[in-house]
C-alpha cells in the first residue's frame, strides 16, 4: 500500500509540474552543434539578465534544428549553413516561414606543427591534402615527410563546414585521423611534427601554427573583409522575422555583450557596426 501511495504522489507531482511548467516564458533553441557553445553561453548570460525566461539549448545538428523549426518544436534553429530550398518548401507547407539572422562568423584555421617550415598553402593544395592527391610535405614546398591528416569526426559541424569550404564537397581521404573535439585536433597537431589539421579560429595558440591560405592570414579582419577563404556565417533561423522573446534573445546575441561571448567561444564576432 505504501509503495502505491509513493508512486501515486510521484505521478501527481509530475502531472502538476506539467501544468505549472506551461506558465513560464520558454525558448527552445535547437540545431547546429557548431553553434552549440555560442547558443549555450549566450543563453546562460541572457537568463542571468532575465530570470523570468527559460531557454533550453538542444544540439542535434543543423538538419535536426531546421526540422524542429518546421515542426514548430523549437523557436530558434541554429544552423551553420544556409537553409536548403527543399527545407524551405517543406516548412512553407507546414505554415512556417524560416528567416535567417546572422549571429556570428566561423573562421576555420588550417594548423600545422610549429616546427613545420611551411607557412602557407593554396586552397588547391589544402584540398589536395585532404582529398588524398598530396601526401608528402615536399609536394607543397616543405621538407620531405609524410603528411598526417587530422580531421574532426564526420558528424561535427566543423567537418561539414570544412568539407563545404575547403573540399568543395568532395570525399575526405579515408586515412584521415578523426578527432571528436577541436581541442583534440589541436593537441594531436601540436604533438605530431608532420600533422595538419583544422580548427576554429579561437583554437590558434602557441602550440599550433595557422597557415596562410592563398596568402591571406587567418584572423578576424580577413574574415570580416571576406578575403580569408575558409569563413562562413552562422545563422539562427526563426519562423518569420524574429519577434517577442526570440527577437530579444537574438538581439542580445548580436549585441556587443553577446559578441564578446561569441569571441570567447572561439568564433569570429560580427564586424562592429559603426
Amino acid at each position: 500500500m505504501r509503495i502505491k501511495n509513493i508512486v501515486l504522489a510521484a505521478a501527481i507531482s509530475l502531472g502538476l509540474g506539467a501544468l505549472a511548467g506551461a506558465e513560464t516564458g520558454t525558448l527552445v533553441v535547437d540545431g547546429s552543434s557548431t553553434l552549440l557553445p555560442v547558443a549555450q553561453a549566450t543563453a546562460e548570460a541572457y537568463m542571468d539578465k532575465n530570470p523570468g525566461i527559460k531557454i533550453t539549448v538542444r544540439g542535434g545538428g543543423s538538419g535536426i534544428g531546421i526540422a524542429s523549426l518546421q515542426d514548430s518544436t523549437c523557436d530558434i534553429a541554429d544552423s551553420s549553413r544556409p537553409i536548403k530550398a527543399s527545407e524551405i518548401s517543406v516548412a512553407l507547407k507546414k505554415g512556417v516561414d524560416p528567416k535567417p539572422s546572422v549571429v556570428a562568423l566561423d573562421g576555420i584555421a588550417v594548423v600545422v606543427n610549429p616546427k613545420n617550415g611551411v607557412t602557407g598553402l593554396t586552397k588547391k593544395q589544402v584540398k589536395g591534402i585532404y582529398t588524398g592527391g598530396i601526401s608528402d610535405w615536399a609536394q607543397v614546398g616543405g621538407t620531405a615527410g609524410k603528411i598526417i591528416v587530422v580531421s574532426r569526426d564526420t558528424s561535427s559541424g566543423t567537418y561539414e563546414a570544412f568539407g563545404a569550404l575547403a573540399m568543395d564537397g568532395e570525399k575526405m581521404r579515408p586515412d584521415a585521423l578523426l578527432q571528436a573535439a577541436s581541442q583534440a585536433v589541436a593537441t594531436t597537431v601540436s604533438k605530431t611534427p608532420g600533422a595538419i589539421g583544422y580548427v576554429g579560429i579561437g583554437y590558434i595558440s602557441d602550440t599550433v601554427k595557422a597557415l596562410n591560405i592563398n596568402e591571406v592570414e587567418c584572423k578576424k579582419e580577413t574574415v570580416w573583409n571576406n578575403t580569408y577563404p575558409y569563413a562562413r556565417p552562422l545563422f539562427m533561423y526563426t519562423n518569420g522575422k524574429p519577434k517577442g522573446e526570440a527577437k530579444k534573445f537574438i538581439d542580445f546575441v548580436v549585441s556587443a555583450e553577446g559578441q564578446k561571448i561569441v569571441e570567447e567561444q572561439g568564433f569570429v564576432p560580427l564586424k562592429k557596426q559603426k
Binding site: E87, D153, S155, G169, K171, P174, L178
Partner: protein
Amino acid sequence: MGITDKIYKYIFMVIAFSSFIFLTGIIIVLFKEGLPVLSSTGIFSFLFGKSWYPTATPPEFGIFPLIMGSLIVTLGAMVVAVPVGIGSALYIHEIAGEKQKMFLKPVVELLGAIPSIIFGFFGMVIVAPFLQNLFNLSTGQCAFTGALILGVMAIPVLCSIAEDALSVVPKSYREASFALGANRWQTLWKVIMPAAGSGVSTAIILGISRVMGETMTVLLVTGGAAMMPKSIFDPVRPMTSTIAAEMGEAAVGGEHYHALFAIGLVLFLITLLMNMIAEYISRKYRMKLGMDV
C-alpha cells in the same frame, strides 16, 4: 472459472503480448524507415559499398567499412573476453571456495552493471592516451582501444552465462572422473568443459551479440573513421556509433536518415540471428541434460 477471472485472463493475455508487439514494432519501423535507401542504393551496394559519405554531394551509402569496423572491434573484444570471461567462470566454479564465491559472483555482476558511457569515458580519457604513448600511435582512439574496452565489458556476460552452464553439469560426471583417478584439472578440462561446451558457446555468442550492439563506448574510443581498417590500430567507425553520431545531423525523412535506419536494420538482424543461434544451442544443451526447456 468465474466471469471476473475470465476478464482478467484476457486483459493479462493482451498485456502479455506487449513484448511481442514491441519486437514486431521495432522490426516494422526498421524496415519501413530503412527500405527506401535500400531500394534507391541497392541492397548489394549498400551492404558492400566501400564508401560511406552520407553528407557528400552526391552522398554515398556503402556500409561495408562500418560492418568491418563492427567486426574487427567485436572480434578483438572476444580475444580479450573469451579467455578472461570463461577463465573467471572456471575459477569461480572450480577453485573458489564458498566464501570467495560469495564475493566474486556479486563483484562480476557489478562489473556488468557499470554503464557503457562510463566505460567509454574511461577509455577516452585514460586508456586511449595511455595506449597512444605506449605503442607510439598517431591516435589512441582506434579499433584496438575499442576492442580492449568492449572486451572488458563483455567479461561479466561471458562469465555469468558460462558459470551457469558449468553449474548445471551433473555432479556425477565429476565424481565419475575423480573415481577414475583424474585430477581436478583433467576433470575440468576433459569432462566438465566438454559437457558444458554448448552452454559456454551460448555465452560466447551472446557476448558477441552484446558487444556488436554496444554504442557509447565505441562512439567515444574508436576514432570514427569510416574506412576499411587495414590494421587493428586504425580508427574505425562501427555501425552503432555511426547511428548515434549522425542521427542528429541527418535531416528527418531524408536519404541519410533512412540510411541510418537501414544500418539499424542490419545491426538488428545480425543480433537477432546471434540470439536465435544462442537460444537454439542452449535449448539443445538443456535437452541433452534432460532439463525442461
